[in-house]
Symmetry: C2
Subunit: 209 residues, 2 copies
Amino acid sequence: MSNPEDPESALESRGSVPVSAPTGRPRSEEAHKAILNATVELLAEVGFSGLTVEGVAQRAGVGKATIYRRWPSKVPLVVEAYGRLPGMEDVDTGCLADDLKGMLKGYLEAFARTPLSALLPSLAGERAHNAELAKVFDPISIERRRPLMRALERGVARGEIAPEIDLDLAADMIVGPIAVGLFFKGGRIQPKRVGPMVDLALAGLGIRE
Amino acid sequence: MSNPEDPESALESRGSVPVSAPTGRPRSEEAHKAILNATVELLAEVGFSGLTVEGVAQRAGVGKATIYRRWPSKVPLVVEAYGRLPGMEDVDTGCLADDLKGMLKGYLEAFARTPLSALLPSLAGERAHNAELAKVFDPISIERRRPLMRALERGVARGEIAPEIDLDLAADMIVGPIAVGLFFKGGRIQPKRVGPMVDLALAGLGIRE
DNA sequence: CGCTTACGATACACAACGTCTCGTAAGCGG
DNA sequence: CCGCTTACGAGACGTTGTGTATCGTAAGCG
């Protein structure tokens, strides 16, 4: 929609079957990875607003044109780098509370290992007034919470969650305290707080008789 | 505290008693207000990252120096503008659920009337990698959720919340879904969702026998 | 071998930042 | 009333980063 006449749109180039005959020198996959790695590194060091395309080019050892050939601006580049960071990993123990606690603890550990905790607020802040970014950011966000949704659906199937509960709202309640801590308090959520958090949320969601 | 040797620090100048003899032409309070109003207006239109000091100066009808004389950079200016926007207003009906629903609905209406929904993600995103901003942003955030904390404390006093509950975590759970919607979905929370949200959270927080 | 496209490097115009300097305006103390 | 001091609006200035364009070179394909 934004660029219908460009068959080499950055997001579509992930497809495995090139539509047009790829003549000429192929794009260097090595440079591609170097750029994304440099982006992740620099995001961890200086954050989104401190990130410069020139800095990425220098760190990656590529020319600026090589970056702009792949991404039209800083925002889609950062979005793709964001997509490469780890999300929630599904944990299936047979008990909803343990699933959720395991998933959230794993996710919080990923926050410590990667620049996720700097990236998420930065992207969310940009998203708020950048419709183009929102269009690519939102599907990635939905994809990332899919393991959480699956765990909740398993909980419904097992009878651990009342069937009339709005699972989307339930998911928001589960991750809500993490989001609040991340956005307003600097992401300093202790993993030991995950237990009470989940228990509190579940007591509201579960069937009581 | 943050700048002990500068008696004219922007945040401290709100004090009513000037310490040093104010010789020379006094700063125009009119220009001060015009700058803050222009900042709020422009934030609503272009967001934080689209806001330029030159744009604010033009909209307010002042020179750039008049802005830089009061605020060292864009960030503290936006923080002060943020502080002028409405926060949660305390509602005391005698029933915790009604208090919370009333407060959240009122807050969501403020989101529609003001650039709050653009400002909060932008500031939070900047906060994540800007320690100087975090230092002034965090106290304002704590201050803004104080009515919510008071309502929860009333709930404890009335026996509507179990006394062992961590009220800070409870507050995070209450506003969590709003934060998630604001940061990841564009702030489109329908006021009619407030009811189920509060009921769900309270069922987890309340005393059950 | 020639065609095509990508490569790293760098020059370029543009925009915004934050500093500075104009000439002027406003309050205060003598 | 007059000089001192500081603030005012306006805008020039150097700096930095953006995104585009242009080098000469490199790599795959026919």
